[in-house]
Amino acid sequence: MKDTGHADQPVIEAKGLNLVFQTADGPVQALKDVNLTIGAGEFVSFIGPSGCGKTTFLRAIAALETPTSGTLTVNGMSPDEARRKRAYGYVFQAAGLYPWRTISGNIRLPLEIMGFDRKAQEERVQRVLELVELKGFGKKFPWQLSGGMQQRASIARALAFDADILLMDEPFGALDEIVRDRLNEEVLKLWARTGKTIGFVTHSIPEAVYLSTKIVVMSPRPGRITDVIDSPLPQDRPLDIRDSREFIEIAHRVREGLRAGHHDE
């Protein structure tokens, strides 16, 4: 197991976080007074209507946006320090593969940048290709694959270098239900096996409830957290847990939270 810092120290901690974008039409408050603590090994889902700041919050954690006020720490450091220490794997809302590189070449890219040796690069590329069921597609170029396959390749790329924190922005939004179910199971297995801390954005209530130990419900204008639900579901989750009474109760609470956010407008 990797050293994830002090066990009692939160991995991600936001206190009174505000983030305002200055746009041509005036300021947009993307995040307002966000307080959230994420412990090591948690699986946290962010759910909420479009434009409520889910992507912005994930990007702030990854030091791709700078908060306007409040504090945000990652492993006790500033997000930018954590970024330079390569603490994150990030899966964007779109695949974002480099078209001049093959699928293998794309997955190998972060490994090249982080200085893994050739042999380790090859092994890791093969391993993650198998994990996302793209074995045999390594030599293809991104534009020769379907959108869903490209998205899986981008997940493989984020997994290849084994960062302790995995941030995923609607990674399965473009996939069909069956593939999505299978990848949900895969992500859970991966999480159980590696003990990574995962931040996961989704629009799907069942997906959020199925995957998470903690569900963060957000609402828009300004983007803020309206509810944080700690899931009582056990670690081991077969797909049919989605028909259990507990599961349906949590899903209900999430739906109530989303609806309440809408009424405030």
């Binding site: 990854a62 030091a63 794997g89």
Partner: protein, 282 residues
């Protein structure tokens, strides 16, 4: 109507019918077919040209027949070769390599130091707007009559178009692609080498293609302002003076061939390097 004109028109109609047929036939979509159509079209133009010149007895000084030009070409290959080496290989090519190479390095410097970009690009646009006919005599005065002054003119002509293209190319990577580099903790040089340079390649080749045609024009025209007794521009200006018009046209043919070959080589390299770009995918 003269016989030459009738034969010329007959050939034209025949070639037209053939091309229309080939375009509809599956052969027209094979690589050979794709070359066949424009080649036949070009030959038709030459035949018509020959027919018109003969039919109307156009004076050589106005327009020589293609056959006369070809004859001149064949008998003066030694001379044409010497001019080609002087103007294309020494003047245009060395100026092209130095100019585009320096522009490329300058673009990377501009990219690294924003202050340079803000200073250099406006100056660049200004220099790019200077007319070559004004610049060439001065550069000939500075660098002498030899090929060096021609190369200098070419450098001055290609530098800024190339610079502007490469700078635009270096900024063309998408935001998500750059964000990925940031999340991997990539250094400036890693991101440049593995993302921004590959992403810039379509722009780089655009710049190279513009520079290729400018280089040939620049090297020829610069010779009008002073040169040793060899070179395509020198030959054209002196041959016009003694009404040796066939030789002028032979030089023009060399320039056209050299220009097409130059451009074609760059287009081939472009296809190999930017195969991934939507405009190149087959």
């Amino acid at each position: 109507m003269s016989l030459a004109l009738i034969l010329g028109l007959a050939f034209w109609l025949g070639a037209w019918a053939t091309n229309a047929l080939v375009a509809r036939h599956p052969f027209g979509r094979t690589p050979a077919g794709r070359i066949f159509v424009p080649v036949l079209f070009g030959i038709t133009l030459l035949v018509l040209w020959e027919a018109l010149v003969r039919a109307f007895a156009v004076p050589t000084v106005i327009l020589p027949a293609p056959s006369a030009i070809a004859g001149k070409f064949a008998e003066s290959t030694g001379l044409l070769w010497a001019d080609f080496v002087q103007t294309v290989l020494k003047g245009a090519l060395s100026g092209f390599v130095i100019g585009t190479g320096a522009a490329f390095l300058a673009a990377v410097a501009c990219d690294r130091v924003p202050f340079l970009r803000d200073g250099l690009l406006p100056v660049g646009n200004f220099v790019a707007a200077l007319p070559i006919v004004g610049l060439a005599p001065i550069l000939v005065m500075w660098f002498g009559f030899g090929w060096q002054s021609k190369a200098a003119v070419v450098v001055a002509m290609v530098f800024f178009p190339m610079l502007i293209n490469v700078v635009a190319g270096l900024g063309s990577a998408e935001r998500m692609q750059r964000d990925l580099m940031a999340t991997w903790g990539a250094s400036y040089w890693q991101a440049l080498w593995k993302l921004r340079l590959p992403a810039a390649m379509p722009f780089v080749f655009n710049g190279l293609k513009i520079a290729a045609s400018l280089a040939l024009i620049g090297a020829i025209v610069a010779e009008y302002f002073g040169s040793p007794v060899v070179g395509m521009g020198f030959r054209i200006s002196t041959a016009v003076g003694v009404l040796n018009i066939e030789l002028v046209w032979a030089e023009i043919a060399v320039a056209a061939l050299a220009g097409s070959a130059f451009y074609g080589l760059i287009a081939l390299a472009e296809k190999a390097v930017t195969f991934w770009h939507p405009s190149q995918r087959t």
